[in-house]
């Protein structure tokens, strides 16, 4: 037996409320991230991720409160990302009860932020989130053919996405969350080429995200090199359940909890 491949639902949280529609039955308040987190835990989620999409910084306190209340009730690991700009933001989230914090745009702007966080809090709680896409025709190509984007995939940076993941490892992060912006929302499956390219360059855990639409999509992402798989909307809308995803992975020979 080996360490199980983790199945991670991701919740988009805006000002303390879950943004995308939720199709769970038996919930008193389907927009409450805390209650939803507990439901995912009960369904067998191996970890939880909150993506804070709150636009206004004055509402950040609400996010911290949600993290605090979730940590009071849910006893599996919780990662929080979105809008994390400084070492002090990471500190506040960890104190509120997050186990890991993911960094994205701010790390692209200032990569040293990753090593500062890793040295202060330990590699185990620093996740580098990489929003990658194929370099569009007409733009300057990168060696891997993939580039890092920021602002939710709207802005290309010209930075090679595979090299950036490797740089994150050098700077001391404990894990890479790899989001395919091309596959995201298509429900046509994970971007296996992207996953395997990044896998070859890093030896820290790799979470694959973007494109899940069917239970059969998860095992190939693991074969391509993912240590964990993450999905958002397919879980929220009840289109896929954690249990059936794990059953399909198990049937395909993947070790799951």
């Amino acid at each position: 037996m080996a360490v199980a491949v983790r199945v991670i639902p991701c919740l988009d949280v805006d000002a303390g409320r879950v943004v995308k529609g939720v199709n769970f039955t038996d919930l008193r308040d389907a927009g409450d991230p805390v209650e939803l987190a507990a439901a995912y835990d009960a369904e067998g989620a191996d970890e939880l991720t909150f993506l804070d999409v709150t636009a206004s910084s004055s509402n950040r306190e609400t996010t911290y409160d949600v993290v605090r209340r979730t940590a009071e009730q849910v006893f599996i690991p919780l990662t929080v990302g979105g809008g994390v700009r400084e070492v002090s933001d990471v500190d506040t989230l960890l104190r509120a009860g997050a186990d890991k914090v993911s960094l994205n745009t701010a790390a692209v702007a200032r990569p040293e932020l990753l090593s500062e966080c890793s040295q202060r809090f330990g590699a185990q709680c620093v996740v580098l989130s990489v929003d990658a896409r194929r370099v569009p025709a007409g733009s300057e190509p990168t060696p891997s053919g993939f580039e890092v984007t920021t602002h939710g995939g709207r802005r290309g940076t010209g930075i090679d996405a595979v090299a950036w993941a490797a740089r994150g490892q050098q700077l001391g992060v404990g894990e890479i969350l790899l989001n395919s912006m091309d596959a995201d929302g298509t429900k046509a499956g994970f971007d296996l080429e992207l996953i395997s390219l990044v896998r070859k360059e890093i030896s820290i855990p790799l979470i694959a995200s973007g494109g899940a639409g069917d239970v059969s999509h998860f095992a190939p992402a693991v074969d391509a090199g993912a240590d964990a798989v993450l999905a958002a909307s397919v879980f929220h809308f009840g289109q896929l359940r954690i249990g059936e995803v794990k059953d399909a992975m198990r049937a395909a020979g993947v070790e799951v909890r």
């Binding site: 080996a2 835990d41 191996d46 006893f75 690991p77 009860g97 894990e175 240590d227």
Partner: protein
Amino acid sequence: MLDYGSGNLRSVERALRRVGADIEVTADFHAALECDGLVVPGVGAFAACMEGLTSVRGDRIVGRRLAGGRPVLGICVGMQILFERGVEHGVETEGCAQWPGTVDRLKADVVPHMGWNTVRAPAGSRLFAGLDADTRFYFVHSYAARTWELNPRPPMPEPLVTWATHGEDFVAAAENGPLVAAQFHPEKSGDAGAHLLRNWLGTLD
């Protein structure tokens, strides 16, 4: 629970409270000496944890408790610092030396070892009593004790060592009289972790 600035303090506190512990988080020397059971959590670097621990005289507290047969539970890096030494990035740091041996980097394709893994508990384990062999616990660590070197002669009781594998075998937990420790995070291991914490509480008088 010993408060020496460890980041996972609150989650361990919440998990223990959930299973019915009356818990006080303290750096007070006498309170930490006199409680029924002392929990030593820990995340991050061995050297930083050891520095924090010694700043509240935690190494002495643990030593004095064990000399008096009073239970101590170390979690994650709180377990690692019970060994003689830790080696990180080529730098050796002295530990509490309650157990002989070295904590160093795991040799595996993917490190940190992050996620839910099974363990192999020996017969007679009180910590894992009532938990099936396929029960998984949440690990997140890059370093571990890869050997167990304490083999006392009778009539001293044999320590109960629980192993896990990630790339290679390492000590996942140990029960050595009043000194008990786990490399994984029971506080993040859902119901399995709660069961294990309840088992430990059950050993306290």
